[in-house]
């Protein structure tokens, strides 16, 4: 059973990342839960969700001791660093989160997702790049599954957008696999 937190600002597509990942994992035949955080915090604040993927029944969908965190903003790092499971892995969008982790028992993987997205010609795919990297790193699902998940969720999606998303996923995965890590 693996717990992942996706966290950032509203508008960064954070919830979408988690949702697509959860659908992908479900179609892979796993047990999954997806829990968005909701609060009286007004919009424009933080957004985050927790996805649990498991081969067995999932008891608690909440973000206690997550194994992974995909962090898109500084406040999110602040919020989640403290509750990570020992040895957990934090994937950071390093263009938004420059500071290093304070906990030494965690691994961090820094992905300059905004830069990479710009290279691809659209800042819109920042989340796909992070998701691609996440999938490649954790091997919890495949990029194909994610693409299937995407088309299941977003009906009538523009083929060119789909293509761009795929590019984003690929670029993120590549970044991990090619060992571009700083």
């Amino acid at each position: 059973m693996k717990k992942t937190v996706f966290a950032g600002f509203g508008g960064q597509g954070v919830l979408m990342m988690g949702y697509v990942f959860a659908v992908a994992a479900m179609r892979d035949g796993k047990e999954v839960t997806y829990l968005p955080a909701y609060g009286a915090e007004m919009r424009g604040g933080t957004a985050n969700c927790t996805v649990v993927v498991s081969d067995e029944e999932i008891f608690s969908p909440v973000a206690s001791s997550p194994d992974f965190a995909v962090i898109m903003s500084k406040p999110s790092l602040l919020k989640y660093e403290g509750i990570m499971r020992e040895g957990g892995v934090v994937l950071l969008n390093s263009n938004h989160v420059s500071r290093p982790l304070t906990r030494e028992d965690l691994n961090s993987i820094r992905i300059p997702a905004v830069e990479l997205a710009k290279e691809l010609g659209s800042e819109r795919v920042v989340n796909m790049i992070m998701l691609g990297a996440f999938a490649a790193y954790t091997k919890m699902t495949s990029l194909d599954s994610i693409m299937n998940g995407l088309s299941e969720i977003v009906k009538d999606i523009n083929p060119s957008v789909m293509k761009l998303n795929r590019k984003g996923l690929d670029r993120g995965a590549e970044y991990i696999l090619k060992g571009d890590l700083q």
């Binding site: 600002f9 424009g44 604040g45 903003s73 500084k74 406040p75 938004h96």
Partner: protein
Amino acid sequence: MTVKPKKGRIVIDSRLCKGCYLCISVCPNKCIVISEESNEKGYHPAEFTETKDGKDRACTGCALCACICPDIAIEVYRE
């Protein structure tokens, strides 16, 4: 008879600013811009373009920016 325009100055608390840019939209003298830096909350705060001792200060201290600022992020000083 020319009235000597008052000189003004504002201080924007970048921690409070949420980047709504209403101040920019109302400043008659275009003294406010969007900062390149983002703050703790992820907003790019508004930034005052003039300094206290700068030349050609345009800000009159009219306080329109502060008046519309939803986050009370602006203090206004006037000579």
